[in-house]
């Protein structure tokens, strides 16, 4: 029978090993990315600002892919932010209590909707209708709309948590002063919740940037710099999914380089979200 001391030493070792595993995984992932991407970076084949992505011609300009990813994400955020804010305000303040409770739980469930499912709906229901209104269907605009829909629950849940964390005294004080609900929202709640909103948007952006299925199914997948919103584009993620199965040599390394850039962008967004997070809030 192991002594108490031995047992606890063993436990401490196991727990610490598990924690170390986490760090090993992250570092290992980055190291592997760099290793596989190196032939393309070191050899100067991959061009961050290059405007032409044509692997068959040996051209690995990342600009169209990066611009595609960034524009789709920015557009999705622009569409999702007001909706998410409205939903959060509805749950927290405006809606009748019974309905607000249902909405809160509903939004929490919706955050788990599989992206393929949203993609299928986007492809079969949204894109054809969009195409009839303004050709073509699959486009940057379609990507923004469907992606926005995907991230609304996530952003709404985070903003609502920020709203719920506003100290009760402030609402009571506003009521004591006889402020209208509009003034309460505009001058008390929204300023108080600004860090939470920024944090929520950064997280939503990271999710949108990393999304593959939705954009692959509705953006048309043409690697080009878009002249307007109704033009097909291709994101870094969709490009990886489409070309990786058959890429070899320099092409494959270039794909890994694109993946590396994407990962660094997501990490930067997360760092921003962390810096913007509300102080002292329970996560």
């Amino acid at each position: 029978m192991l002594s108490v001391r031995r047992r606890d030493q063993g436990l401490a070792l196991v727990l610490r090993a598990a924690a170390a595993l986490m760090v090993v995984v992250l570092v290992g992932m980055l190291a592997l990315l760099v290793r596989e991407a190196w032939p393309a970076i070191g050899g100067g084949h991959v061009d961050l600002w290059g405007r032409s992505w044509q692997p068959s011609a040996g051209e690995y300009g990342l600009a169209p892919l990066l611009v595609g990813s960034l524009l789709v994400t920015a557009g999705a955020l622009a569409l999702a932010a007001p909706v998410a804010l409205g939903v959060a305000l509805f749950i927290d303040e405006v809606g009748p209590r019974w309905l607000a409770g249902v909405m809160r739980r509903g939004m929490a469930i919706l955050t788990a909707t599989p992206s393929v499912v949203i993609g299928v709906w986007g492809l079969t229901a949204v894109v054809p209708r969009l195409g009839r209104w303004h050709a073509p269907g699959p486009s940057l605009a379609a990507g923004c709309i469907v992606l926005a829909m995907m991230i609304v629950p996530t952003v709404a849940v985070l903003i609502e948590r920020g709203l719920a964390a506003v100290p009760r005294e402030r609402r009571l004080a506003a009521a004591a002063l006889g402020l209208s609900r509009g003034t309460l929202i505009r001058d008390v709640l929204l300023p108080a919740v600004r860090p939470a909103v920024a944090n929520a948007l950064a997280i939503g952006a990271a999710r949108a940037l990393g999304e593959t299925m939705v954009v692959m199914m509705v953006t048309g997948n043409v690697p080009q710099l878009p002249g307007g919103p109704f033009v097909p584009v291709r994101t870094v993620t969709a490009n990886l999914a489409l070309e990786m199965p058959y890429a070899a040599g320099t092409h494959r390394a270039a794909l890994f380089a694109a993946a590396l850039v994407l990962t660094l962008l997501v990490a930067a967004l997360l760092a921003l979200a962390f810096a913007l997070r509300p102080r002292g809030a329970a996560t």
Binding site: V14, A19, I109, G182, T263
Partner: protein, 278 residues
Amino acid sequence: MIRRWARDLPWTVGAVAASAIAVGLYGWLVVSLLRAGTGRLSWRLAVEVPTDAGRAGGLAPVIASTAVLVTIALAVAVPAGVAGGAYLAIGARRAGRRDALRGVLDLLAAMPSVVFGLLGATLFADILGLGYSLLSGGLTLGVMILPLVVRATDVALTSLPGELTRDAAALALSRWTTLRRVLLPAAAPALGAGVMLALGRALAETAALIFTSGYVDRWPSSVFDSGRALSVHILDLAMNVPGGDPSANAAAVVLLVAVVVIDLLALAIHWRVVRRPS
């Protein structure tokens, strides 16, 4: 009187409109899936094999492959995840180390899934020589959901009342015994809920699997054989198979129902059991 009402109105209208839009769009999603897939939805989906590239027939081998993939993923993620979460909750002595580790977890959890797929293919399929297989896919999936399980364990353990640990210390129990016989059993419902959420996440995953477990839609002969997950099946039908839309929509309904049921159960347990750390 009217001025007050007028100040409220834009916010009320805005909040209600936003909620209506959000709910309406998701409602449209469900209705659209059901309408497009309705011809193909039946109980036979669970027992028949896909035929005609998936345009006809059922989902049985796909469901089986999905089950195997998810089982492997959980087998990897749960032991390591519970241990890591226990470290965060009770093992880490310094707050700095804890916060750093939580930061690492958040970063891992936010990584694009396609990157996991690429790296999983490189590590498991190429370097370890597993090729396109359920094992490659399951291991990749396991690494993906590992941060979720760690977080779930962390939350489950830290939301336990402090008396449990203090009472165990008063009884001079070792930390291992405290963990095994007091804390983990008490945290089991919340932990179970967290694992179910991770399971839902694994079911929904597509990009990590297309490079690792492959596209084959017949019955897998072993874990070393290739197999197709339900999410990948939906993707293939929607994008690569002309006329595959009704089957894609039907399969999407199946996946959506599965994920929603699992998550509803998990969240119901979670809301009932987890208090905010006091």
